[in-house]
């Protein structure tokens, strides 16, 4: 069992938790992920590490409530326990030698982008961050990004905060104005990453994407997380989760992501009803 040391609601759909998991905290690096189960007989879900405190032995996770498991997790409070927590899995994001990087985060993906920005910033790299949200009330981690970036641009889809529009808008403007980067690192919804890649491709700027497909064991055993990268089958859990964005087959990844959509929607509704009943 793994204790929830702290819990903070970042916005109505996104929660941050610190979990006591000393073995994971000792090793976890930006870009890696963990797998957790909330309770016995629960499903295993992968979540990318949003930071860790090696002294305290805690790992920070930030998750969006999108289904039954994240709903159940969100009902746990600080001091309570979750069943399983294993990691760190996957390879850390490669940052060595980078001098100037653009970080593009979307929605809850910003939670994963932040430790990468922080790591780059700490090693003296120039970090331009673009973070995007649907609207102002979904905005998270603005101050943290400000502290870790040379320059920060906040975008909202509806214009309720920051600049109005998609994250690709300022990225395209910068690139067209002649700005160059050693690398663009993007983390967010598949469709956003697909368009970030479409934006950087004409400029030939290396673009790394962080993939988060359906997986079970996270150690290369089930093959459920497979992706086509450069025409070759790769397993996100052991070969990734970071890949060269120019090589990833996003359309296939998006289709595979919907494999259990009906089941997931049904399970989510059931879980919500269950919690509602408990409240009544």
């Amino acid at each position: 069992m793994y204790q929830i040391v702290s819990k903070k609601v970042l916005n109505p759909t996104v929660t941050m938790m610190e979990i006591s998991a000393p073995l994971v905290a000792r090793k976890a690096e930006a870009g890696q992920f963990i797998i957790l189960r909330v309770d016995e007989d629960g499903e295993r879900i992968p979540l990318t590490v949003a930071g860790c405190n090696r002294e305290k032995g805690t790992v920070r996770i930030i998750f969006q409530i999108v289904g039954a498991t994240t709903e159940a997790l969100n009902h746990k409070e600080a001091g309570e326990y979750i069943q399983d927590f294993v990691g760190p899995l996957g390879k850390p994001t490669e940052v060595e030698g980078l001098k100037k990087v653009c970080i593009v985060g979307g929605g809850v993906g910003c939670a994963i982008a932040l430790p990468i920005a922080e790591k780059l910033h700490a090693m003296g790299c120039e970090v331009h961050s673009i973070i995007g949200f649907r609207s102002k009330d979904l905005l998270i981690l603005e101050d943290e990004f400000k502290a870790a970036s040379t320059k920060l641009t906040v975008m909202t889809d509806d214009g309720s905060y920051g600049r109005h529009g998609n994250v690709t808008l300022p990225l395209k403007e910068m690139l067209e104005a002649g700005e160059t980067f050693d690398e663009v690192i993007t983390i967010g919804p598949l469709i956003m990453m697909k368009f970030v890649v479409a934006t950087t491709r004409p400029f030939g700027i290396k673009t790394t994407v962080s993939m988060n497909p359906i997986m079970i064991d996270g150690t290369g055993m089930c093959g459920g997380c497979r992706l086509t990268v450069g025409g070759v089958t790769k397993f996100a859990c052991v070969d990734g989760p970071d890949f060269d964005g120019f090589e990833v087959d996003f359309d296939e990844a998006m289709a595979r992501g919907t494999m259990y959509r009906d089941f997931e929607r049904h399970a989510y509704e059931e879980t919500c009803n269950l919690f509602k009943k408990e409240v009544q």
């Binding site: 073995l23 994971v24 090793k27 189960r37 007989d41 629960g42 499903e43 295993r44 039954a68 498991t69 069943q83 399983d84 927590f85 294993v86 990691g87 760190p88 899995l89 079970i216 064991d217 996270g218 150690t219 290369g220 055993m221 089930c222 093959g223 459920g224 497979r226 992706l227 086509t228 089958t233 397993f235 052991v238 087959d249 296939e252 289709a255 595979r256 919907t258 494999m259 259990y260 959509r261 089941f263 997931e264 399970a267």
Partner: protein
């Protein structure tokens, strides 16, 4: 008692095929006492004991059967337990027909003695009747780490614990048992039995740490720093192989590992499970091994109409004969001498957001014929040009084997592996190229059987004991 000279083995009582095809309860029900005694009486107790040399863990077979004849079932169990850490498991999943029973003298004329069925009877009798906890041996002051809690790891851990070693088993998943819990289905090996065997090891003092991925959470070098004096690697053959044909990433295509893990470990076969799995419709399983049979029979029980596509003929099918017969009885169709060339999917030309887009609709296969024997002596399948045909299906399960998981190799300096990624060991000891590190099971051999993995765990335990007690 006079020897029973019947030429036929007592048949295994089983659930009727039409009944078991719709449930996940165990297929084989086991001998009762009278049947066990009758079968035991078929053993001639030969002095040469050819059966023992066919057993990868050298169970003293005539000796345990003699105890059965005397109705001393606990005594029989103790004989088996001296050699095997997992008797109830082996009695169920061992390929006895090609091991101990293949060498039984009675098999020269008629059926061999039902050694596996007797082993299962004895182990189940013990599990139902034994009340005494296993005696915990006095600690000998040495610490050993075991990586993986599958058959090789559990065997190695059990043998060392019995000698007084402080053994810690590190398991990547949330539950101990390895392939016994994620791979082999409930109807062939009930999980309660695996749990009982694991509990027996815990009672012997074995510490099992789940949720630890060696190579990620902790490395082998760090285990030595933490005071472990030897490490046994039984991490299994992780990575599922795919065919490399178009369409393998369509929705509805599973590796057998994923399909079985969803159903077994994650309990998707239960109605209230939190884990989704595609049920019903038509399912095509590609491959002819035991894992293919397990996947096919699982899909059948989940409500599907199931075909097995295999590129050679019935004679070369690598699965145990009994599993193939069970599958046939349950109504699984064998489409032999066929090989998939691509998997076809749905795409709505008018609606790119149609949820059915990217779902499997069919498998295109080509007919095969058998040509010259290959290096292993199996006749090589050759395509018959122009014989392609299409089979409609909703799900494709690929069960064509696995490759050793690279996590440990990639994080352990000095650990040599072969061309296929299997860890290289000295056969007599299980010792690897790295001092203090031993390995066995599928991590060494690639996908093989439970009992061979157990044999390797046993060999390594003996070698570790010899090295550390010097």
């Amino acid at each position: 008692m006079a020897a029973n000279m019947s030429l036929t083995k007592n048949p295994m009582p089983s659930q009727e095929p039409e009944v078991r095809a719709h449930n996940f309860s165990e297929v084989a029900l086991g001998y009762d006492e009278a049947t066990a005694l009758d079968e035991a009486a078929r053993c001639l107790g030969c002095k040469a004991m050819p059966c023992v040399s066919g057993c990868p863990v050298n169970i003293h077979i005539p000796e345990f059967i003699a105890k059965v004849k005397e109705c001393d079932f606990e005594g029989a169990y103790q004989v088996i337990a001296q050699a095997s850490s997992l008797p109830a498991v082996c009695g169920r999943v061992c390929p006895q027909e090609s091991q101990c029973e293949a060498l039984c003298v009675r098999g020269k004329k008629g059926d061999p003695v039902g050694i596996g069925r007797l082993e299962r009877f004895v182990a189940d009798w013990h599990n139902d009747h034994a009340t005494e906890a296993p005696v915990r041996p006095a600690p000998n002051g040495h610490k050993v780490a075991v990586v993986g809690s599958g058959p090789s790891g559990l065997t190695c851990a059990g043998d060392l614990a019995k000698k007084g070693y402080a053994v810690t088993v590190f398991e990547a998943l949330h539950l101990a048992g390895g392939v016994l819990v994620y791979g082999i289905p409930e109807f062939r090996l009930p999980k309660a039995i695996v749990q009982k065997e694991v509990d027996t090891l815990k009672a012997l003092g074995v510490d099992i740490q789940t949720n630890v991925v060696v190579g990620k959470t902790i490395t082998i070098d760090e285990l030595f720093e933490d005071g472990y004096e030897a490490v046994f690697v039984g991490s299994g053959a992780g990575l599922p192989n795919f065919m490399g044909i178009p369409g393998e990433s369509l929705k509805g295509v599973y590796s057998a590992n994923e399909f079985l893990t969803r159903s077994n470990l994650m309990k998707a076969y239960k109605d209230d499970s939190a884990t989704p799995i595609w049920k019903g419709g038509k399912v095509v399983v590609v491959g002819g091994g035991n894992v293919a049979m397990d996947a096919a029979r699982t899909a059948l029980r989940l409500g599907a109409e199931v075909s097995i596509v295999y590129r050679r003929s019935m004679e070369e099918l690598p699965a145990r004969r009994e599993e193939v017969e069970h599958a046939q009885e349950e109504g699984i169709e064998f489409k032999l001498l066929n090989n998939p060339v691509r998997i076809l999917g749905y795409q709505n030309p008018d609606d790119p957001r149609d949820p059915k887009n990217g779902c499997v609709t069919a498998v295109e296969c080509i007919r095969m014929e058998l040509g010259e024997p290959d290096e292993k002596g199996r006749r090589r399948p050759v395509e018959i040009p122009g014989s392609e045909f299409v089979m409609d299906t909703d799900v494709v399960i690929i069960a064509i084997g696995t490759s050793p998981n690279p996590l440990i190799k990639n994080t352990t300096a000095g650990l040599e592996v072969n061309r296929r990624g299997g860890i290289i060991v000295q056969e007599e000891t299980g010792a690897t190229s790295k001092p203090g590190v031993y390995a066995g099971g599928d991590a060494v051999t690639g996908a093989a059987t439970v009992i061979l993995a157990m044999g390797a765990g046993k060999t390594a335990a003996k070698a570790i004991d010899e090295a550390l007690s010097k």
